[in-house]
């Protein structure tokens, strides 16, 4: 048997992705929840969604309830790293530095893959 109300020691509100969907078909809900809750468990409020697979028009659809997002950020919620990256891509927050670093690393690896076969 479970309890109705779970009491935590510590913990804070985070805005993160909750995974849903089926096998080989992920679907993320952008959610404000306690950090100690299960990833897909009870959340405070759903703030949007993200479909990581491209649709028929080749686009990844994401919805963000910016008004409620601003409210939770104002209440002191923290963001998970993927959420920060997504909001950086959206333009709501500045671009995450790891996005930039990741792009640079990819480009360097692609260059190294090209030049050594040319040398060797």
């Amino acid at each position: 048997g479970g309890r109705l109300l779970k009491g935590y020691r510590g913990g804070h509100v985070v805005i993160r992705f909750a995974l849903g969907g089926c096998t080989n078909r992920p679907f993320y809900r952008i959610v404000a929840a306690h950090s100690r809750r299960a990833r897909d468990g009870k959340y405070l409020e759903q703030l949007g969604c993200l479909d990581p697979l491209p649709n028929a028009h080749g686009e990844r659809v994401a919805g963000l309830n910016l008004e409620r997002l601003r409210h939770w950020l104002g209440c002191g919620a923290q963001l998970s790293r993927p959420a920060e990256k997504l909001l950086g891509l959206a333009g709501f927050l500045p671009l995450h530095p790891m996005t930039v670093t990741g792009a640079e690393r990819l480009r360097r690896r692609a260059q190294e893959a090209v030049t050594p076969p040319a040398d060797g």
Binding site: G20, G21, F27, R29, Q46, G48, C49, D51, P54, A56, H57, G58, E59, R60, V61, A62, G63, L64, N65, L66, E67, R68, L89, A90, G91, L95, T99, V100, G102, A103, E104, L106, R107, A110
Partner: protein, 338 residues
């Protein structure tokens, strides 16, 4: 995408009424900057579709055939209800029916085609190569009108731009679904399929579907409407749209392109002389520089004389209209005589 359904469906009725109010609030609201500007110039130079005088004329021409307006729409089969009423109650019921019919006959707005959106918010060229597909971000804040909603696209080459009108319409339909509208427009609106629809005389149905599916200033809406009006004018099927809310738009289109002859003949054949005079008044309002307008203003003509002047100066099919007028006058003479 499946998880969205449960989330969105609870608030659909409130959204529907809000969206319906937004759609028909074109005249009352701020509207688009270009539209307001055009209307202001229009009062001095050229009357716009939404002017009081123009709307009055178009409304009078539309007619009020209660039988056609309240024609049975395909719904669930229910047994008919019979009520026993006095004369006064019957008049009251007819008056209410006329008011409801007037609501059904409110004309959908006629707007210019919308300008394509071409706005880049940020360019981050170093992101090139990290993604393979673009991201479309929609602002899901409930209380902002759809026209002001932020919908941005992050392309694989790193450019963050505003979404095009088609992308906007699709996203808004996905997150805030409207009844009767589909995410991807049905194939029936393509030109080759419209021909089949016109052959079956279902102009009114396709126009209703078009109003449900597209925004009034989208190029598809305007294209479908213009094709329908052209087909009606080619085959003189004006009566299909009479007493519907599309009649005003059709008359506006024809008068702007000076193709009013067929409509005039049709009105005279059906003995609708008032409508014919209204049509010519509207024509003069829109083209004040033409010869018949000047003559009519000088001599202050009314009724049949106005039609005769118009026929002499402006129309291409003079012979037909003269014949029709003669037939009408003979019929009037015989009816008054007998």
């Amino acid at each position: 995408m499946a998880a969205l359904g449960a989330w969105g469906s609870a608030a659909v009725p409130a959204r529907l009424s809000r969206v319906a109010r937004t759609l028909w609030g074109w005249r009352a609201r701020r509207g688009l900057g270009q539209d307001a500007g055009a209307a202001d110039e229009g009062r001095a130079a050229k009357p716009a579709f939404a002017d009081e005088a123009v709307q009055n004329l178009l409304y009078k021409m539309t007619g009020l055939n209660l039988q056609k307006v309240f024609r049975p729409v395909k719904k669930e089969l229910k047994p008919p209800k019979y009520k026993l009423m006095t004369e006064a109650q019957l008049e009251e019921a007819t008056r209410k029916a006329i008011e409801e019919a007037k609501e059904k006959l409110i004309m959908p707005p006629v707007l210019n085609e919308r300008e394509p959106i071409d706005d880049v918010l940020a360019e981050d060229k170093f992101l090139e190569g990290t993604e393979t597909a673009k991201y479309v971000f929609t602002d899901l804040t409930y209380s902002i009108p759809h026209r002001e909603r932020f919908i941005v696209v992050r392309e694989p080459n790193g450019v963050l731009r505003k979404a095009t009108w088609e992308e906007r319409d699709r996203m808004i339909q996905i997150f805030f679904p409207k009844e009767g509208r589909r995410v991807i427009p049905p194939v029936i609106f393509k030109d080759e399929h419209l021909v089949t629809v016109f052959q079956q005389d279902r102009h009114e149905d396709i126009l209703n579907m078009c109003i449900a599916q597209f925004e009034p200033d989208s190029p598809d809406y305007i294209r479908v409407h213009h094709r329908t009006y052209d087909d009606i004018e080619k085959h003189a099927k004006y009566d299909l749209l009479r007493s519907t809310r599309h009649f005003g738009g059709m008359v506006w289109y024809l008068v702007n392109r000076k193709k009013t002859d067929g409509l005039l003949i049709d009105m005279i054949h059906r003995d609708l002389l008032d409508d014919a005079t209204n049509l010519i008044t509207l024509y003069h309002m829109l083209h004040p520089e033409c010869q018949s307008a000047n003559e009519a203003k000088e001599r202050k003509l009314q009724g049949v004389d106005l039609i005769k002047i118009f026929v002499k100066t402006e129309s291409q099919r003079e012979g037909y209209i003269q014949l029709a007028l003669q037939a009408y006058e003979e019929a009037m003479a015989t009816s008054t005589a007998s």
